[in-house]
Symmetry: C2
Subunit: 628 residues, 2 copies
């Protein structure tokens, strides 16, 4: 194995400077007004006409010569001859002489000779309608909007760099402008590499080690969020010629090329070689965690950034270094500072002297304070960020942060709002439906025992636990129900399983759950009972069940192994079996309990959950809640 080593790691500031030195700007687009919202004006727009373009009546009433009304009042109205009418959108041929008036509607052109108007409410007409009594005096200009009063020809309308709002579209409409010059969105090519990657929607062969390509669509969404235009290139695999071709095409067509995905040495080698031949490498490796293996350089006339392969690392690097550069090039202002200060929920240690970007979740405690907890499923995790609200940056000089320390969290976006309820614990389909009805819940299915432990540590609001638990919690119960568990088998139960005895005595492949799971606890208790009844040792029974030690984390996975033909029976719920149209051999019922953090009973999200749980008994007894 011969791999490039990351020597001479750049500091985060050096990496930022390297990206800033690359020109990402696109050119100029001319877009129709209806597509201009949110785009950034590239040049000043001046008014080329007066708005309004004529002296305009502000109300319905009568156009007249102001001096004809001088001295008029309720008692002694001025009597004027009506010589015509002008409506909005009509050309007026009326010319007023002394003592004359013209009926006029709001927005109509003031007729020649008129210098003011009086609203209809201050007038009366005689029966005949050829005279109007004006019961007020008006001054020249009253109730008239003069040409150019709104916008004057030659006036500066919008400056370069303006991000066009609906209000600006109003101004541009008034000026008759139906096309505006805006900054072209920087085109960002996304090249994903790695033989193991499959595009979402295609079939996955797990036994070949295939995984879905997370980075392409995620980074594309990030690019669009930052004001760029994402261009996804066909997935290149690890074939060197193919990868080189894709990189060069992307560099030719885009302002910035982002590669990501491959962890293979050969892909890295191709990228290094292509950049060395056709461009320049400004930075390889940054002293940051996650994100060390970041490349920054030029490729032909395009900028190039190589993102780490792991999705969480790739997104963190993208957010921290690349998104600001795209926003800058797009002319999109940096989002309003969206930071929240909170209290770190547990101690964090840092081994390496690298700048650290720590994804965190937020939860409000009983006192309305924000607790901050790290979200980390390990370096290969693809999905941690969906459970996080923001990032805490920790400098390289910091070895640890104490629990209770105050930290500043940069939210992923200004509109991130922390969950109203934070729960952890057992996977349970009934609880999942309950969550659907809540305002903004977050639930991490870590299993019953870890859930209970976390509840004791004081971070989540509630924990959901199932089955018998060795150590009872002091936490109060918010609600609970029973669920039926047993063996999930092939449709129609062709092997005619009846219970545990079949697993012990017959040659059947079983799939278990991990010991985190409440189902596994109930199975353990059932096995102990069974052993006692047979008058034998529990270990003997366990050894006799093929697959008892193979525990899967996911509550549906044993059932899915049965579907795939990899097992004859799996530990699971009747509801899972029903939903996947599989057979089911009941072994018992187990309680599911929702336990609440004693400090949080008054929290709004907890009370919302408590109300929702009051309806649950029906659900557990077989009725399905309708999805909202």
């Amino acid at each position: 194995m011969n791999r490039k080593e990351f020597r001479d790691l750049a500091t985060p500031d050096e990496a930022r400077a390297a990206i800033d030195s690359l020109a990402l700007e696109g050119g100029i687009d001319r877009v129709p007004l209806e597509d201009a919202r949110g785009r950034v004006l590239v040049a000043r727009l001046d008014a080329e006409l007066d708005v309004p373009g004529f002296d305009r009546a502000s109300l319905d009433g009568y156009a007249l010569r102001a001096r004809d009304t001088f001295g008029a009042d309720e008692a002694d109205p001025a009597r004027l001859e009506i010589v015509g009418a002008v409506h909005a959108g009509e050309k007026s041929d009326v010319v007023l002489e002394e003592g004359q008036a013209a009926e006029i509607s709001t927005g109509a052109v003031m007729p020649d000779g008129a210098d003011a108007m009086v609203p209809v409410e201050r007038t009366d007409t005689d029966g005949g309608g050829d005279e109007v009594l004006v019961r007020t005096s008006v001054a020249p200009g009253d109730n008239v909007m003069f040409a150019g009063a709104d916008v004057a020809a030659g006036e500066r309308a919008l400056g370069p760099g303006t991000t066009i709002t609906p209000r600006d579209i109003g101004l541009l409409s008034a000026l008759g402008i139906d096309e505006v010059p805006v900054r072209a969105k920087p085109r960002v090519g996304i090249v994903s590499t790695g033989d193991e990657l499959v595009r979402p929607g295609d079939d996955l062969e797990s036994e070949r080690g295939e995984i879905y390509d997370v980075n392409s669509y995620t980074i594309a969404a990030g690019v669009e969020d930052a004001g760029g235009e994402a261009v996804l290139y066909p997935h290149a695999g690890d074939d060197q010629d193919e990868l080189e071709g894709v990189l060069r095409t992307a560099a030719d067509e885009c302002d910035l090329v982002l590669s990501s995905g491959s962890t293979s040495a050969s892909a890295v080698d191709v990228i290094y070689r292509v950049i060395e031949e056709q461009g320049e490498l400004l930075c390889h490796g940054v002293s940051i965690k996650p994100g060390k293996p970041m490349l920054i350089g030029r490729l032909d006339d395009s900028a190039y950034v190589g993102l780490p392969g792991y999705p969480v690392s790739a997104m963190m690097v993208f957010r921290t270094f690349v998104a600001p550069a795209i926003r800058e090039a797009a002319g999109v202002p940096a989002p309003a500072a969206a930071t929240v200060s909170g209290t770190l929920a547990r101690q964090e240690r840092y081994e390496e002297g690298r700048h650290r970007l720590m994804p965190v979740g937020l939860v409000e405690n009983g006192d309305g304070e924000t607790l901050v907890y790290p979200v980390d499923k390990g370096s290969g995790a693809t999905t941690s960020l969906a459970d996080a609200d923001g990032v805490v940056e920790v400098g390289p000089e910091t070895d640890y942060l104490e629990a209770g320390e105050s930290v500043m969290v940069t939210l992923f976006s200004p509109d991130v709002r922390p969950p109203t309820l934070f729960g952890v614990g057992e996977d349970d389909p009934t609880f999942s439906r309950v969550l659907d009805g809540l305002e903004r819940p977050r639930y991490l299915s870590v299993g019953s025992r870890p859930g209970l432990r976390r509840l004791r540590e004081g971070v989540p609001d509630v924990a959901v636990v199932a089955g018998p638990l060795g150590r009872e919690s002091e936490a109060a119960e918010l609600g609970g129900w029973e669920r039926e568990w047993g063996l999930v088998v092939r449709p129609g139960n062709p092997d005619e399983l009846e219970g545990l005895a079949d697993l012990v005595d017959r040659d059947l492949r079983f799939v278990n759950r991990t010991s985190d799971s409440g189902l596994r606890s109930s199975l353990g208790a059932a096995v102990a009972d069974f052993a006692e009844k047979r008058g034998t040792d529990r270990h003997e029974i366990v050894d006799a069940i093929d697959g008892f030690d193979l525990g899967l984390r996911a509550y549906e996975s044993p059932a899915r192994k049965v579907i795939d033909g990899d097992a004859d029976a799996g530990l699971g719920l009747r509801e899972t079996a029903d939903r996947l149209a599989l057979g089911f051999v009941p072994l018992g019922e187990q309680p599911v309990r929702v336990l609440v953090n004693p400090d949080r009973t008054a929290k709004a999200g907890v009370r919302e959950l408590e109300t929702a749980l009051a309806d649950v008994r029906d659900v557990a007894s077989g009725e399905r809640m309708t999805e909202r």
Copy 2:
């Protein structure tokens, strides 16, 4: 004139309740993952597979049986036989026995028999490469990500109501989901009426009283901002059958129909009639200013809201009543509360007992406090909102607000940022270019005298004044330049004008500027000089100039009158004449001075302007600044 009166005005709360009672919800869209960003999930999505789908090596190194390494360290490494290699994306046929290891790359499937892996950094290979020395002991599971560790099959992935972020797209990608069920955007039909309205881009006949249709595109942009889909219907004019047809088509095709634009009685009558025949009118008229003439009802199966015709009123009503309902229907969360508290810059009086929505601008004073000033160009103004930052709501019981009173401003959107510099005063093309180079300036061209007055009142940062001014200001000068003014005439000056004498003695039509303008002041001074030279009275000269009293507000308007053939000469700048390819007869040079509010000299935006003004002398002497 027989007009519907607005009796029984609804309160703002009643209007809100009426809109809430209308169902605006669209149905369900299924969108591809790449279009899912920002959309709102309509149903829960559960994981249908484990992520990863297999036990996966977390690093490059060797897969092995953990117990073979027990006790190994630097001094006494474990020696294992290499029996194969597994790469990412490859199916492995390797099966490890005791004492064996397999080369493995990051992301590859753990081979059968292996229960842990050791990173390559902790190993050595002998020259031959068929043995590996492992210099550390590992526990079962070390450096392995187990199937389902990231996401477990059956796990709740995203709940209904989730607004999809790039991070959620990462989670969906990992699950292989390439299409998601989201709330359809509510379809909002926009019907603009009024014979006087012309769509931007089309030709305008001002003499017919035509104006550009501001509401259609502006409201459409507002609809899209709120998460709806805007559908613009062809402009209906005031023809009753045509309007009725358009309204019914829109009601048939949309979840909500918004009409706006017409101020004509006949259009209002049609709308009343159609709604009475085909729907229900819940509310006609709301006790709010601006916005009184708002209609709320149903039209066939669609909701209907009639917006006021005046663009500012229409937008304010849309923002206050309609946008929240569209957001609710779209499932888009209300934007984070974006409010700013500030100090009212001047007293405001309110005559009527109506709830008032007052558009305001913001400016930071010298102490870093926010001053709030009303932005109001009069009820017919179309463009005031482009100069405003937010809204102050004033209850019907409030008669006036004192200057200096603290008010709460709701920003138009959370990303509104007040201008870095607020200037008022003379229109000037040089200054306009200077503004282009500044960060985020706002400039209201109100003319020299009003600008100076406002500067004295203490609201703007700077005022730009031109020409001679009766009353000198105490304000310090930040910069200045000279500009050449005179008569703008037809190209090539076919009438051979040489100066003021031609306007006085010959039969030429002249167009003047209003007395707000510094140009008009200089012309006034020149007329006085000319009268003195002729030994006559100033008034006689003025009377002899055809059009002297006709002042236009806009600095380009006189020149444009010359282009249109409506005048032989207009008051203007050489620069305007040059840019519009017209002839020019110089009458003099006048100073343009930028005066600064004494409290604001240290403000960042003022210093930025000061720096930019240092370069202006070159510009004024004929060089053009390049646009940024």
